[in-house]
Amino acid sequence: MVDALFLGIAVLTIVSAIAALEMRSLVYSGIALMGALGGIAGFFFLLDSPFVALFQIAIYVGSIAVLILFTIMLVKRELIFHKKEDHRRRYAGIGLMLVIMIGLGAVIFDSGISSITTDEPPVDYREIGEDFLTYYWPALIAMALVLAGSITGAMVLARRDDGVEDEQRTD
């Protein structure tokens, strides 16, 4: 049986996720996305994984959401409220969503994982640190290189070197 805290976080997460996709203004959508990501962090706390939860809060709710909000502010005002979509496509999307929910839900209920429970103590975060530095150290270095490469790539992509800068400053 689920407890009230789980239900509250589940409702918060799913409603925020839908709001992030459906709200008219992109700014409010970004804030709703922050709510959904914060809800996921709450689930991580419920799963006795405080280290991952704090990582999630620091990276998603802290930095990615702010990055998204700044990008939205760089876009023209009309486009923030602009919402153009095909109605037939929308109904097809809702149908696809229901098919995935019901299909995957049926597979999961049928798979027997509903009988899995545990009384064992949660994983200690020291084990995660040991994992990172022993078995997964090549992956850790590769991840550091990917992060550095992606940040360099993002800066190179967003750089403006065609002289448009001066033109825009004057008007």
Binding site: V2, F6, I18, A20, F44, K76, L98, L104, I128, A154
Partner: protein, 101 residues
């Protein structure tokens, strides 16, 4: 623990379905990025839930890797949005057609 593994997995499936809906219906580049984020978080929730109930530290480690890679993906995605907006003055993906044959 009063919550069971299947509760978390069901929430994760719901988030996955919502993300796929957003990815297939929305034409706004930023909203599509939101949908991708929701799908990635559904995957992370699954990883951590299974790591708790097995119990094994590998799931949490993998979730941490996944969060870091998702951060890199968002940085590149937002840079692409800015470049595309500069080129087309729009963020509607239907308008981005320079690579169309």
């Amino acid at each position: 623990m009063s919550n069971e593994l299947i509760d978390f997995v069901i929430v994760s499936v719901a988030l996955l379905a919502i993300g796929i809906y957003g990815l297939s219906v929305k034409r706004n580049f930023i909203r599509m990025l939101f949908a991708i984020e929701i799908i990635i978080n559904a995957g992370n929730l699954n990883l951590v839930a299974f790591a708790r109930y097995l119990p094994h530290s590998g799931g949490q480690t993998l979730a941490l890797f996944s969060i870091a890679i998702a951060a890199a993906e968002v940085a590149v995605g937002l840079a692409l949005i800015i470049v595309a907006y500069r080129m087309y003055k729009n963020i509607d993906v239907a308008d981005f057609r320079s690579l169309k044959g």
